[in-house]
Amino acid sequence: MAKIVIDGVEYEVNPDNNLLQECLSQGLDLPYFCWHPSMGSVGACRQCAVTQYRDEDDKEGMLVMACMTPATDGAIISLEDKQAKSFRSDVIESLMISHPHDCPVCEEGGECHLQDMTQMSGHNYRRYDKKKRTHRNQYLGPFINHEMNRCITCYRCVRYYDDYAGGTDLSAQASHHHVYFGRHEEGVLESEFSGNLVEVCPTGVFTDKAFSGQYSRKWDLQTAPSVCVGCSVGCNTAPGERYGTLRRIVNRYNSEVNGYFLCDRGRFGFDYVNSRKRLLEPVKRVDNTGELLADDEIKAVIKEFSREGTIGIGSPRASNESNFALKTMVGDENFFAGYSDSEHESMAAILTLASDKTFHSPSVREIEEADAVLILGEDVTNVAPRIALALRQSVRNKAMDLASESRIPQWQDAAVRELAQHERSPLSILSPAVSRLDDIAADRVIESLPALVAMGHQIANKISGSAPAATSAEHDAAAEKIAAQLKGAKRPLIVAGSSNGSDLVKAAANIARALHEDGEKAAIDLCLLVPEVNSIGMGLMAAEENSLGVALDKLSSSAAKRVIVLENDLYRRASKSQVDSALDKAEKVLVLDQVTTTTTAKADVVLPVTAFSEHEATYINYEGRAQLSFQVHQCQKMAQPAWRWISDAAHIDDVIERCCSEAPGFAKLRDVLPGGNPFIAGMKVPRQSHRYSGRTAMIANVNVHEPKQMEDKESIMSFSMEGISAQKDPSIMASPWAPKWTSNQSISKFQDEVNGELKQGHVGSLLFEKTDSGAYFDVPAATVQPSGKQLHLALSYQIFGSDELSARAEPIRERMTDAYVGICPEDAERRGLAQGDVATITPTGAPVVVCIRTGVKPGTALLYCGDANISPAEFTGFLEIEKSAARATSRGIANLIVSDFQEEEI
C-alpha cells in the first residue's frame, strides 16, 4: 500500500496501479478515453491529465497523464488544478473538432462515454468553425454498424479487437488526422467477439446493427439483470425491452465470470424471443392441426400427466426450477436426462469429478490466471466462447512476468507487449483439427480422437508414474514437453469437455490428478466444458442411470405410457428412429417449449413456455456456479415458466426453496436470492429508469387510459419506474448509471476497485461441495480401427448455429452455415469430393456440404450438424461420406470462418 495526496486529501492506494485507475477506484471523477480497465494504458488521448507536484513546496507542478503515471508512495497530485482542467478541456475541444454532433440520431446517445467526458471536461462552447474532416464507412457484417465520422481516435477498438481478442481484420490505417479504423476492405468482421466493439468504443462508431433496426434509448429500455443462455459459461447480461419486444443485450459486469465482455452468440442471439414462430398458446393436436386449449382442459391434462406411468425428460436449456418441478411431478425415478447418451456419459464423469477435492473448477477470471494450459480435444471458441477469450489473456502471464522482472508496470500495455514480443505462457492444443486459438498455441497436435485420449493418458503418466500408462501413443516428445510445462507451472490448467465422449474428460482428469500428486499444489484447475446453459443443473437433477436412452426405451416398450418433454427437441438428442418409436408408442406426449420443433410437432399437447427474458430463473454454469437471472419483461401472450404449468407453487422462491431442500446438490442455491426481504426501504427496484418515457402513451392505439403497471409479485423488481434505484445495490443492478456517468464506464462507481468485485459483491453461489478424492481412471481399451471407407468422427460445434435457440435469431442466421463435414484434401480427393459439394453421410444418408480443410487430421471427419435435423446422436465413432448429386442450398459453407479453408486456385 502507498499513500498519495489528491487535491489535499490523503488516500491509500496500490502502488502497482496507475493514478487514473486509483482515482477511479477512489470514486473520483477523472475523464479518460484510451484507457480501458481491462486493457491498460497507452497514453494516446491525453484526456486524463492531472497536475503532479514534486513535493509540498512545489506550487507549479507539471502535467502528467494519470493513466501513464504510477501511483507511487508520496505522490501529490491535483485533478482540480487550473492548468490540468484547462488542458483537459482543450483536449475534448480538439476531439470534438470533426465530430458530427449527431447525438440526436446516434445510437450511442444517452449512454455515450464521449458525451459524459465532454460535459465532465467542461467544453461547452464551440470555437472550431472550419471544415470537418469526413470519412467513408464500411459494411462490417450483420452485427456491427460503422460510422467513422464519430471517431475520436482513441485506438480502443483495435486494441480490443486485435490485441485483446486476437482478431486480425480490423486495423488503424492512414495517419495524422486521417487515421481510420476499419477492415482492409468491406466485409464481415471475423472475430467471434466483435460485438464488444459496441461497448468498447466510447462513442457511436461501432454500434449494434441488430438494435439499430428497432432502436430505443437506454433509458427507455426496460432492463433487468440476466444471464446469457447461449452456453454453459453463464455470462451476465442486461437485456433491454421496449414495446413488448426484446431489443438488445449488453454486457453486465461480473468480476468472476464475464468481466466486461460477451461473445457474439450471447449478444446477438436473442431475437427468437420476438419471433412469430414462438409458441405462445397452449394447444392440443386434433387431426394434425393445433387447437387452443381451454383452462379446464389444461387442468385435466396436468392431472392426467400426474398419474402413474408418466415419465419426464428434462432439459439442459431449461432452468433449475422447471427441471425440478418436472422431477417433482413425475417422481425422481421417472425423471430422465434430456441430453444425448454420449453426453450423459461425459456428464456422469464430470459430475463425479466436481466433488473431488483434487480439482478446482476455475472461474473465467481464474482461467486468465493460468500460466500453462492444455486443451484436450475441445474447440473452446465454439463451445464456450468467453473462455477462449479468457485463455487469450492467460498466455499473457509470461509477458507480465517479464515486465515485472524489467520493472515495467503491467498496465503499460504497449511497453509490456513490446518487451515480450512473441513470448507467451505455454498453451497446448490437442485436437482433431486446427482451431481459432492456434495463433497463441505453443504446441499443437492434430490427431484422431482415440489418439488424443491415448496422448492425454501418456501426458498424465509422464507427470506421475502412478497414472496408468497409455497403451500406444505417438508424439512422445510433444507429450514430454507438455508434461514438463504443466509440471513447471504455478497455476496449470487443463481444459476438456463433453463434446466428444467421456474418454477425453477422463484423460484430462488423470492429467490434473497426476499434477496434484506430483507437487504440493492446491487443487488443480480442471475446466470441463459442457454445451448448454444448464447442462450441469439438469445433470445434477437426473439420477445417473436415468439416461435419455432408457427413457425412450421405456416408452417404446410401453413400460411408460406418457411423457412430458421439457424444453427439448429430442430429435437433436437421439436417433430419429429411437425418438420416433418412443413418441409413436407413447399414449400421450406433452411438450413444454418456447419454440416449435420436430418434437412439438409430435406432441398431443403443447404448453408455451416463456423465454429467458420473460421469467426469473436460476442456472448452473460449467463450474457449478448457480446464478439468478431476473425477468426483464412480460410475455405478451400466454407463455409461462414451465414450472408454473406443472407445479402448484405460487412463487419462484418457493420452488427454489424446495429445490434446495429436496434436490441433492442444490442446498446452496438459495444463496443467489437477493436477501429475504423483497423490498429496499419498503420499495421495489424499478426495471425502468427514472427517465423512462412514453408510459402513458405507449398503448394509446389500443386504449387511451394509462393502464396500471403490471405488478411483479415474485421478485424484488418492479415493472415500473417507481421504486428505489438498483444503483445502491449492485447485485441487482442491470445497467450501471451514476451521476455524470451514463455510459457503461460508470461501472467503476460500483466496483470496490477498478476491475474488482461489485460493492456488495454478488457473484452467484458455487454449489459443489468438495468431499471426495477419487482415483485415476483406467485407460480405455484400444478402439476398433476404421475400416474401408470409414473416417473417425469428431463432432464439431459452431458458435453460430450449434445452440438451438440462438440459431433462430436473425443476425446469427446470417452468419450460419449449413451442416457440413470437414475433411482434409487427401480424404476429399479419395472420394472425388470438391469444396462445397454435397455428400451424404452414413448411417442416415443425410445430406451435408463438403468442407475441405487443410488442418483436419487425415482419416478424421468433423461433423457439424447444422440447424436442420441431423441429429449428432445418430453418429458414433465412424462416418462414411459419399458424393451426392444434390446441390448445396444457398447458404452452404460460405460463412464459415476458419484459418485452414482450402481455397480453390484461380
Binding site: A44, A49, L63, F87, I97, R127, R133, T153, H176
Partner: protein, 426 residues
C-alpha cells in the same frame, strides 16, 4: 592537427573515399585500440569524458545515454545499435553531407558504439529519399566486410557486428527514436511511451541505442586523437565541432564544420556571406524547424547548447533557416505548421487534432480570412501543444516557431487581419 574531424575527407566534387583512401587518412585507427584490448568500459569512459552531446536535436550526453544499457551476464544477450539517418527536420541538411561525403566515417563510428554497448547488430535507418547516401553506404559496408571490419571476430577479437541498411518509407515522425524503432519493426511508426527507454527495452524489446549520424561520426576522432584534442576543438563550453548550415536568402547558403562556441554572426556573415543584396535579416530558426525564432539582436550569441537555450531557443540540429524582411513570417510559420500537421503520426489528441486546426487558421490568414478569435486560438495552441502535454516531442517542436513567431511578429499577424490579405504578396 586535425581540426575538421567530421569533414576532413569530404570533397563533394569527387566520389567519397573508398576504404583504402579512408584508411590512408588515419581511418579505422580506432579499431586498433580496440583490438589491442581497450575494453567497452574504457570506451564508455572516453566518450563520457569527451562531453559529446547528441547531434540529433535533443543534445543529450551520449556517454550517459549509453551507460543506461544493461550490461553483464544477466542482461539480454542481443542488443542493438540504430543510427538515426532519417533527417527530415525542415531546414536540416547535415547528415546527408556526412553520408554522401564520407560513409566510412559513419561505419567506423558505428563499430565503436556497437562495441561499447556490445551490440552485434546495427541498423542504419536511412531516409528513403537519400538514394545517393544509400549507394555510398552500401558500397562502404561491402568494403568493410571484405576487410574484416564487419562480420564475425572483427580484427581477431570476439566482437561481431553486422550492419544492415534500412531505407525508410517516408515520414518525419520516424526520426523520433521510438517511432523509428516501431518503423524498423515494420509497424506503424507511432512513438512509444518512455519509460521504458529504448536503452532498456528497445528494438524487439531488447536494449537499444539510437544515435544520430553526426553524433556517431564524432566517435572515431575521439578515440583516435583523444579527449584532450576533442576538448580543444571547441571555443565555448561545449566540446568538439559541429556541422552548421544556413539556408534561406543569404549570399552563399551551405553547410560547414565549425567549432562549437562560434558567434552566430560569424556563421551568417562570414560563412553564409550575409543577406542577399537588398534584403535585411528579420529573424532565424537556429537549428531546424522545431526551434524558436531568434532575432538580429541575438547575433552575438555563441553557438553553444546552453547559450542558445538562454536566448529562448535551441541549438538542435545547428542548421539555420533565415527569414528575410521580404518574406512573410506568417507564411513561413504557416508553412511549418502545414508540415507538422501532415507529419503528425495521429496517435495523441493534441497533435493530431490541434495541428490541423492551427494549419487551417494559417491558410485562412494567408487568404485574408484571419480573425482575432483565430489569433487567440493560435496562442492557446502554443500552450496546449507544449512540452509534456503530447505523447512525443513532435508537437512541442511545432510550438517553437509558432509561439516565438506569434511573439516576435505580432504586428504581421495583426496586419493580416486588418488588411484582410498578406501584404508580402503583390
Amino acid at each position: 592537427m586535425v581540426t575538421k574531424p567530421l569533414t576532413k575527407n569530404i570533397d563533394m566534387s569527387r566520389p567519397p573515399l573508398d576504404i583504402a583512401g579512408y584508411e590512408a587518412n588515419e581511418g579505422y585507427q580506432s579499431l586498433n585500440a580496440i583490438a589491442k584490448g581497450l575494453s567497452p568500459e574504457d570506451v564508455l569512459q572516453l566518450v563520457k569524458d569527451s562531453g559529446l552531446k547528441g547531434r540529433g536535436g535533443a543534445g543529450f550526453p551520449t556517454g550517459l545515454k549509453w551507460s543506461f544499457v544493461p550490461s553483464g551476464d544477466n542482461s539480454p544477450k542481443q542488443k542493438y545499435l540504430v543510427v538515426n539517418a532519417d533527417e527530415m527536420e525542415p531546414g536540416t541538411f547535415k547528415d546527408r553531407l556526412l553520408m554522401e561525403g564520407d560513409p566510412h566515417l559513419l561505419l567506423e563510428g558505428m563499430l565503436i558504439a556497437a562495441y561499447t554497448i556490445q551490440a552485434s547488430k546495427a541498423y542504419i535507418f536511412l531516409r528513403g529519399e537519400y538514394t545517393v547516401s544509400e549507394q555510398a553506404l552500401k558500397k562502404a559496408i561491402k568494403e568493410a566486410y571484405k576487410k574484416g571490419y564487419l562480420g564475425k571476430n572483427i580484427l581477431g577479437t570476439d566482437f561481431d557486428l553486422d550492419i544492415i541498411m534500412h531505407t525508410s518509407a517516408g515520414r518525419y515522425i520516424c526520426g523520433e527514436e521510438t517511432a523509428l524503432l516501431n518503423a524498423l519493426e515494420g509497424k506503424r511508426a507511432n512513438p512509444r511511451a518512455k519509460p521504458p527507454f529504448p536503452q532498456v527495452s528497445g528494438l524487439w524489446g531488447k536494449p537499444t541505442i539510437v544515435n544520430n549520424v553526426e553524433t556517431i561520426c564524432n566517435l572515431p576522432g575521439i578515440l583516435t586523437y583523444g579527449v584532450d584534442w576533442y576538448h580543444g576543438l571547441a571555443k565555448g563550453n561545449d566540446h568538439g565541432t559541429k556541422l552548421f548550415g544556413v539556408s534561406g536568402k543569404v549570399k552563399t547558403p551551405g553547410c560547414w564544420e565549425l567549432p562549437l562556441g562560434l558567434p552566430i554572426r560569424e556563421l551568417i556573415e562570414n560563412y553564409a556571406g550575409g543577406m542577399q543584396d537588398g534584403l535585411e535579416l528579420r529573424g532565424f530558426l537556429p537549428g531546424g524547424g522545431s526551434t524558436d525564432f531568434m532575432l538580429p539582436g541575438h547575433l552575438d550569441i555563441t553557438l553553444d547548447y546552453d547559450e542558445i537555450a538562454k536566448a529562448g531557443s535551441r541549438l538542435a540540429t545547428g542548421t539555420m533557416i533565415i527569414l528575410d524582411d521580404k518574406t512573410c513570417p506568417v507564411g513561413m510559420v504557416g508553412n511549418l505548421m502545414k508540415f507538422y500537421a501532415h507529419e503528425s503520426c495521429g496517435f495523441c489528441t493534441p497533435c493530431r487534432d490541434g495541428l490541423p486546426w492551427v494549419d487551417q487558421i494559417f491558410r485562412d490568414f494567408e487568404n485574408g480570412l484571419g480573425s482575432e478569435k483565430d489569433l487567440q486560438i493560435l496562442h492557446d495552441h502554443v500552450t496546449y501543444l507544449g512540452p509534456g502535454r503530447t505523447f512525443c516531442a513532435l508537437a512541442p517542436g511545432a510550438t517553437a516557431p509558432l509561439g516565438s513567431g506569434l511573439k516576435y511578429f505580432k504586428e504581421d499577424f495583426e496586419k493580416h487581419i486588418t488588411e484582410k490579405r498578406c501584404s508580402y504578396k503583390h
